[in-house]
C-alpha cells in the first residue's frame, strides 16, 4: 500500500497548482466567463506548453501520462481553481477516442492536440439520451466511398471552439439500453463542413456548448474512427475516464469550497465574535471535512481502477460518482449556507465553485444514474 503520488505526478500537481494560483483568479475567470469564446486561448496554449494536455495521454500516444491517477491529479487542480477551459472535451474525450480507435494517419492529429493547437468536441448525446450512452439515433448511409450523416446532437460541449467533432452515429441496431451498444460508429467531422449547423450558448457553470444539427453531412469513409459499428467499448471506456476526471474536478472544487468556508467562519463576525465560534456551524463545518475525505478516497478508488476490466472499472466509477454527487450537493449547499448572502453573489469565488460542483452531476450520469449502475453491476 502506498497512497503517495509518484515524483512525476507530484511535480505535475505542483506545477499546475502554482500556475493556476498565479494566473487564474476570480477576476480572470469572470472575464473568461463573460467573453464570447467562453475560454481563454492564451491560458489554453500556456497550459498545453506546461504539458497539461500531454499528461492526459500515454507515452505510446505521444504524451507522458494517461493513467487514471494522471487524470485525477490534473482535474483536482482544475477543479480547485474552477478552470472552465475544455480539457475534458478536447483531451480526454476527443483526443482519447482518436487515440483508442484512430488509424495511424488519424493519430497524427494527437500531436496538435497535445501541443494545444487543435480543439475537439465529442458530439454523442442526443436530445432524448439523458445519460444513456447507447441512445444514438443519428443515422449513417454508406454510398461507395462516402457516408452521409443525419441527426441532432445535444449539449455538445466545446463544439464552437472545436476544429473537429467526434460524432457518433448508428450503423445498425436500435438505439438505447444494452441492445443499443452494438452498431455505433464514430466519425471525425470538421465543424466547418457543409451540413453541420451549430446553435451555441454558454453554460451555467462556465464554458460553452452547442446543439449540433447534422443535415446530410457527407464524408469519406476514411473519416470513420475504427471498425464500423464497434465503437461502443471505447466510448464506455472514455465515459469512465471522463467520470474519473469529473470526480476529481468535484474534489478540487469541494476543497476550495471548504477552504473558503473555513476562512469565512473565522473572519466573519456577528454578535461580537467570529461565527466559527458557534457550535452549530462548527459541527456542520466538521461534517464537510469528513465528507471531503470520503470524496478523496472515492476518487482514488475510481482512478485506481480505470485500467481494470470494464465491469470492475464501471463499478468503481459508479460508486465514486454516486458518493460525490451526494457529498457534492451537501458541500456546495452548506458552504453557501454558512457564508450567507455573500456566497450568492457572482463576484465571490464560491459562487462559481459551487456551480462547478453541482453541475458535474449533469455529465455522464447523475447521482441516481450511478446508483442504478452500481446496483446493476453488483448483481451482474
Amino acid at each position: 500500500m502506498n497512497f503517495e503520488l509518484t515524483q512525476e505526478r507530484q511535480m505535475l500537481q505542483d506545477t499546475l497548482r502554482r500556475f493556476l494560483a498565479d494566473r487564474y483568479d476570480t477576476r480572470t475567470r469572470n472575464e473568461i466567463l463573460e467573453s464570447d469564446a467562453g475560454l481563454s486561448a492564451n491560458i489554453w496554449s500556456e497550459m498545453a506548453e506546461l504539458g497539461i494536455v500531454g499528461a492526459m495521454f500515454t507515452q505510446d500516444q505521444g504524451g507522458f501520462g494517461g493513467a487514471g491517477f494522471d487524470l485525477a491529479v490534473v482535474f483536482e487542480e482544475l477543479g480547485r481553481a474552477g478552470v472552465v477551459e475544455p480539457f475534458l472535451d478536447t483531451a480526454i474525450l476527443g483526443g482519447g477516442l482518436i487515440a483508442a480507435l484512430g488509424s495511424d494517419a488519424q493519430k497524427e492529429l494527437l500531436d496538435q492536440v497535445i501541443g494545444g493547437t487543435l480543439h475537439l468536441a465529442f458530439a454523442h448525446g442526443e436530445p432524448t439520451s439523458r445519460y444513456d450512452l447507447a441512445q444514438v439515433e443519428t443515422s449513417i448511409v454508406q454510398n461507395g466511398q462516402n457516408v452521409t450523416l443525419n441527426g441532432r446532437k445535444a449539449v455538445v460541449i466545446n463544439a464552437e471552439a472545436a476544429d473537429l467533432l467526434v460524432v457518433s452515429a448508428r450503423e445498425s441496431g436500435a438505439a438505447g439500453g444494452a441492445g443499443g451498444e452494438d452498431g455505433i460508429s464514430l466519425f471525425l467531422v470538421p465543424t466547418d463542413m457543409a451540413g453541420v449547423e451549430l446553435q451555441g450558448y454558454p453554460m451555467l457553470s462556465g464554458g460553452r456548448a452547442a446543439e449540433v444539427v447534422l443535415n446530410n453531412v457527407t464524408l469519406p469513409v476514411s473519416a470513420r474512427l475504427g471498425a464500423a459499428g464497434k465503437a461502443f467499448p471505447a466510448i464506455a471506456e472514455r465515459a469512465a475516464a471522463a467520470s474519473v476526471a469529473l470526480a476529481a474536478e468535484a474534489l478540487g472544487a469541494m476543497e476550495t469550497a471548504v477552504r473558503l468556508t473555513g476562512e469565512y467562519l473565522m473572519t466573519r463576525k456577528q454578535f461580537g465574535r467570529p461565527i466559527g465560534t458557534f457550535q452549530a456551524l462548527q459541527h456542520r463545518y466538521s461534517d464537510l471535512l469528513i465528507e471531503l475525505e470520503q470524496v478523496r478516497s472515492a476518487v482514488i478508488n475510481a482512478a485506481g481502477h480505470l485500467e481494470s476490466d470494464a465491469k470492475t472499472r464501471d463499478w468503481h466509477v459508479a460508486a465514486a460518482r454516486n458518493l460525490i454527487g451526494r457529498a457534492g450537493r451537501m458541500v456546495a449547499e452548506d458552504a453557501i449556507q454558512m457564508h450567507g448572502g455573500i456566497a450568492m453573489t457572482q463576484e465571490y469565488e464560491l459562487a462559481h465553485i459551487a456551480k462547478r460542483i453541482i453541475m458535474t452531476d449533469h455529465r455522464f450520469g447523475d447521482t441516481d444514474y450511478h446508483l442504478e449502475r452500481f446496483i446493476a453491476l453488483s448483481a451482474a
Partner: protein
Amino acid sequence: MDLSYSSEDLTFRDQVRSFLAEKLPSEISEKMRLGQVLGKAAFDQWHSILNDQGWLAPNWPAEFGGAEWNAVQKHIFEEECAMANAPRVVPFGLTMLAPVLQKFGSDAQKAHYLPRILSGEDWWCQGYSEPGAGSDLASLKTKAVRDGDHYIVNGQKTWTTLGQFANWIFCLVRTDPDVKQQEGISFLLIDMATPGIEVRPIILLDGTPEVNEIWFTDVRVPIENLVGEENKGWTYAKYLLTHERTNTAGVGSSHAGLNAVKRMARAEVSNGRPLIENPHFAARLALVEIDLLAMSTTNLRIVSKAAVGQAPGVEASMLKVKGTIIRQEINDLARRAAGPYAMPFVSEAVEGDNAPPIGPDYAGPVAAQYFNNRKLSIFAGSNEIQRGIIAKVKLGAMG
C-alpha cells in the same frame, strides 16, 4: 377535527378559481410556469388587478381597505394563486411596512402612505441588512443625525430585493450610538429620489440583478418620516419581522413546483421509460410529496390558530425552516429531472425573451432557480437564526 373545507370555504375557492381563470394574464402565468423572471410592469399589472378586485390586502383591517379574510381563506387564496402560476404580490409595502404603519404610524402617515401602497403608486423596498449586520441585525451602523427638522442619513444597506424598482425605502437607522444596540435604532421612511442615494445592483450567482446595495451619503430626511418614537425602531422592526415570517411555509409555491417537476418527469425518458416511473426518481419525488402533505396540514393548523392580526410565534420559525427545506428539495428535483439540458445557461430562458429554447422549454431555468433559491434558507432570518429562536423559546420555557 374536520379536514374538509366548509361549504363557505368551497364557495370562496370557486370564486378565487374563476377570478384567476378570468383575470390572471396568460403571459404572466406562462412566464411564472417557465420559471422566468418578471419585470416591473408584470408585477404592477398583477398588483392593480388584485386591487381592483379588493383582494390585494387580505391581512389589512377593513378600515384601511383590507379584505379581512380568515386564515383558511388566506390559505385557499395563496394555494390557488400558486397553482394557477400567479406571481406573489410584492410584499415590502403590503405585508411588511403596512402592518407597522397601521400599528405604530401617525394618522398622517396612515392617511398618506397606505392608499399609495394599495394603488401601487409607491413601490417600497426594505432597508434592514448591512454588510456587517446580517443575522446580527441589531449591530447595524447606518446612522441618522438630527439637524433641525431633518435627519442626515449616512451608511449602506444591502441585499435590497427589487430595490431597483422602488421609489421608497423603509430603513432601520442608528439614532443613538451610546446606548445598548437595540435601544438606539429608529425606523425611517425615505424617498429614494432624495439626493445622496445610490442604488448599485448585485449580480447573483444565477446572473440576475435581483438585489442591490443602497448607499446613503448625507441624505436629508424630514423628521415627519420617523415612524413612532425615536430609538424605538427595534420594537417596530421585530413586529415587522413577525409579519415577514408569516406564510414562509410557501405551501402553494411548493405544490406548484412539485406539479412542474411531475410534468417534467413525465416528459423525460430514462431507460426507455418516463422518468417519473424510474424507481429512484419516483422515490425522491414521493418523499418530498409526503413531507409537503404533512407540512401543508401543519401550516393550516398554525394559521387556523392565529387570530386575525396576531402573528404566530415560534411556529412561524418552524414553518420557515421546514418550508424552505421542502422548496429547495423541489428545486433540486427539477434540476435532476432536466438531465444534461440543465447545463445550458441562456439568460433569455430566465428573462423570458422570445428566443427558441435550448432543449425542452421547462429545462432552461431550472438550474438557475436551484441556485437562486439557496437564498430561501438565508434570507428573512436564516434557518440557523430560526433554529436558535425555536430553541431559545422552547428551552427557555423549561429553564
